[in-house]
Symmetry: C2
């Protein structure tokens, strides 16, 4: 076991979908107050209570991560690499926002230097937010896709991305012809798919921006490269939905556009789905297709409130990933996305409890809309992995999976968080799974990227925010020391000790 390393600490992950355990959500989670994670070459080889495993792995180099909760790395199912610099751009709903703020910026990514600089910023921001895997849109320029995959490979990160096809509804320099999209996608698939941890998604941007020919090529690419993913958008904004109906008059709804072209199925993800009908949710479910729920973006662009509880109808649940949808989502942090997801769920809950309109009462759906910490962090980890068909590789601490994880500091964040969290754990660390979950809720309600103390990729620390003890004791008029951030070089490993 010479190539083994081990992590000791307090672990929290999921073994099932909490929505399948209504009223007993904790049954879907797993808490190891003092656990051991054993890793070989980036792969988890063993996981369990430290007391049970310590003897078996004596001699293995050990890193003890104290005073943190260790969770599987966060999975962002929908993010736009070339919007890194314009995230949170002011002023408009989807279609105007694209034309005014987004397309002009994305055009810059045809320049390799710019794309490479952006890739550094992008992955730094991902890691600082605790996101270890994302499914990303690039641009219509192959250069941006290359820069993306090359930076991901340098950081050994598991990512999904692909050349982003749009051949109408954008300025000329944003467009790519359907022919070029097909040819370049094919070249990029051959160059990057399954190269290291890179995975390729055939990426028609959204139906309103794609001709019939572009969508047909996308389907052809999928037939020729069945192992690839497909990534797109659907039903984000009411005006966009109407445009899709106008552009595809032969299709009965937006989902039918993807069905017609043979795209809807396993390993297909569409962002948003706010305005999908109940029937469309059913067809997504039956096809094994996924939606990326992007509440921060949906609020930021005023797109609407995703019907979370309806999408999770137990009769035909849709696979759901969380998406930051950065730059329409105005933060990289999936912790901030969880905060907004909670809010969208509560707003839906009110609309469905009968207090506004008794005709719309559906108490079961209302309840499914409510995120608790189990449901929330499931979506950010194992749920996202399942939606993206990555759960053979990622999502929890099962042996055989890849060792990507985050160490969360439940006292970091806004000024008030330490005193708040001290209500839950006076001893300084969670004693039970319910205490751990309550601290996690405190993180998603009160914090953001600040709670991410460390982010590990394939068994190595890729990001660390140093903090001092005094940072946690914010009492007037004491001076406060505050966190520092370090991006760790891939080969740099943290202070270690032998078991």
């Amino acid at each position: 076991m010479n190539s083994y390393t081990a992590i000791r600490g307090c672990f929290f992950d999921f073994i099932d979908d909490p929505w399948k355990h209504l009223g007993n959500d904790r049954a879907a989670a797993r808490f190891e107050r003092d656990g051991l994670l054993v890793i070989e070459d980036g792969i988890i080889r063993d996981f369990g209570p430290y007391a049970d495993l310590a003897e078996k792995y004596s001699g293995v180099p050990l890193t003890h991560i104290r005073d943190r909760m260790i969770l599987p790395g966060f999975i962002d199912g929908h993010i736009h690499f070339p919007q890194t610099r314009v995230l949170g751009a002011h002023g408009a709903q989807l279609l105007d926002w694209l034309q005014t703020s987004i397309f002009p910026e994305e055009e810059k990514y045809a320049d390799r230097d710019y794309a490479e600089e952006a890739a550094e910023h992008f992955f730094n921001a991902l890691l600082a937010g605790g996101t270890t895997t994302c499914q990303a849109f690039t641009t219509s320029s192959p250069v941006s896709t290359e820069a993306f995959f090359e930076e991901a490979a340098r950081r050994q990160m598991r990512v999904i991305a692909g050349l982003t096809g749009i051949d109408k509804f954008a300025p000329p320099d944003t467009l790519i012809s359907a022919d070029d999209f097909y040819r370049e996608s094919k070249r990029l698939i051959e160059q990057y798919h399954r190269c290291g941890r890179n995975l390729y998604a055939i990426t028609p941007r959204f139906a309103v921006g794609c001709t019939e020919e572009m969508l047909t090529y996308a389907a052809q690419l999928k037939r020729e490269h069945e192992d690839c993913w497909i990534n797109t958008h659907i039903s984000e904004n009411p005006t966009e939905v109407r445009a899709a109906r106008t552009e595809f008059p032969e299709c009965s709804d937006y989902t039918a556009v993807h069905e017609k072209h043979g795209l809807l199925g396993a390993k297909f993800t569409a962002g948003h789905g706010i305005w999908l009908s109940n029937d469309e949710f059913r067809r997504f479910s039956q096809a094994g297709a996924a939606l990326a729920f992007c509440p921060m973006s949906n609020l930021f662009l005023g797109s609407g409130l995703f019907r979370l509880g309806r999408a999770l109808d137990p009769e035909h649940p849709v696979r759901l990933a969380l998406g930051s949808d950065m730059g329409a989502g105005n933060a990289f942090s999936l912790i901030r996305v969880l905060d907004e997801a909670y809010k969208v769920g509560l707003c839906n809950n009110t609309m469905l409890d009968g207090s506004v309109n008794p005709l719309q009462q559906d108490l079961a759906e209302a309840e499914r809309n409510k995120l608790n910490p189990y449901r929330a962090f499931y979506l950010a980890t194992l749920g996202g992995a399942r939606a993206l068909y990555l759960d053979d590789l990622l999502g929890n601490f099962q042996p055989g999976k890849e060792a990507d994880f985050v160490a969360l500091d439940w006292t970091a964040g806004q000024q008030a968080i330490s005193w708040r969290q001290s209500l839950t754990t006076k001893t300084g660390s969670p004693a039970t799974i319910d205490e751990a979950a309550e601290l996690l809720f405190g993180i998603m309600a009160l914090s953001d990227d600040r709670s991410v103390a460390e982010t590990w990729i394939a068994g190595q620390c890729a990001y660390r925010k140093e903090s001092t003890d005094t940072a946690r004791e914010a009492a007037y008029p004491l001076p406060l020391a505050a966190p520092q951030e370090t991006f760790v070089n891939p080969q740099h490993s943290p202070a270690s000790a032998k078991l």
Copy 2:
């Protein structure tokens, strides 16, 4: 001019309401790229371009605040002091949330030690968020009101608060009898109102929690102490609205309850108002009464989307303050509140543009819902001061007003913010009012309390977050130094120089 001090820096404030300058919102704002603020004993004595004033005030001790934008201190029109430790509590809409999470915590504030500890946490968190004035609810125990005013006085802060009356709909220990409410309010008014910078608000918590007798006493207190404020809640949640109708069957709507008791008028503020009718908005406007718009709370409890554009109908605009409504609002930072206000406004915009339902199209109202940086920071400063009838004292840098202000670092916040802001200002500081506004939008979209570098109260620095240059240059794999926080003792003044 021996008692004078001066601040040199880049200033941004408001002289009018941006909604009165549709399409030219900047006309309501004022930008001094290199300005001088002259202060005597906490009061602004002069303000203008540094070049114009420097000679006149030569010899006055000067603090030069570099690389920051200085704005009037933020005004929080609706916040709950005794919810400091339970902010962002999990799981329910308003009425259940009160019973489960809030009332049990508030009962602790009858204990003076606990209330005093809480007051330290509360004001630390306010200052770290850049809030210099708040209108706060306390509890039904006079102890909490005393602890609040005493800590505010120690920090020389301009605050409004009052004993919070509730005599039904709560556990016994949360209640106060109407008689005791009247007697204790009267005592506290005499003890604290206009004592230093403390102001008193007669505070019937919300109609559903108040008997007829309690509301009658509130009106009597207002008659006997006309100079006092009134602070309450209205129409936050649909179930609460129905309860108000049941409890006051003789009133045609929720607003009529306050009209009936003679409470609605100048210096009256009610939090929320989500479910108010158009007619109720009109009556608020005519009475000169204010609403506190609390978008973060309204989303967190799923209460609904405040109809911002309707409340601001130019025919009968309602006075609006922003409120964090911490703890239902899950952050102290009004910057975070602005982010949520923007999102609520954009969601309203979509519902009113005709794309969802042509019958609901109202393009003028849709447009009024959209926050830009001018509208947003107006609400957080001068708008709030006007709503609370404090604009003779606060809200901008007019001579004669009190010198409470914040210095904002537009590059502090999430990892991605520096590169984002560099799109607006490549020279490192804003050159025009539009650049300044665009940086402010970057702050509200991407940041939070982290952008508050310094908070000044009555001409003295009360909070400072130290940052190093390297904190602004977040390039992989450079190590990052990060901010430190310091709460400055009231008598401690920052490093100064002579002009």
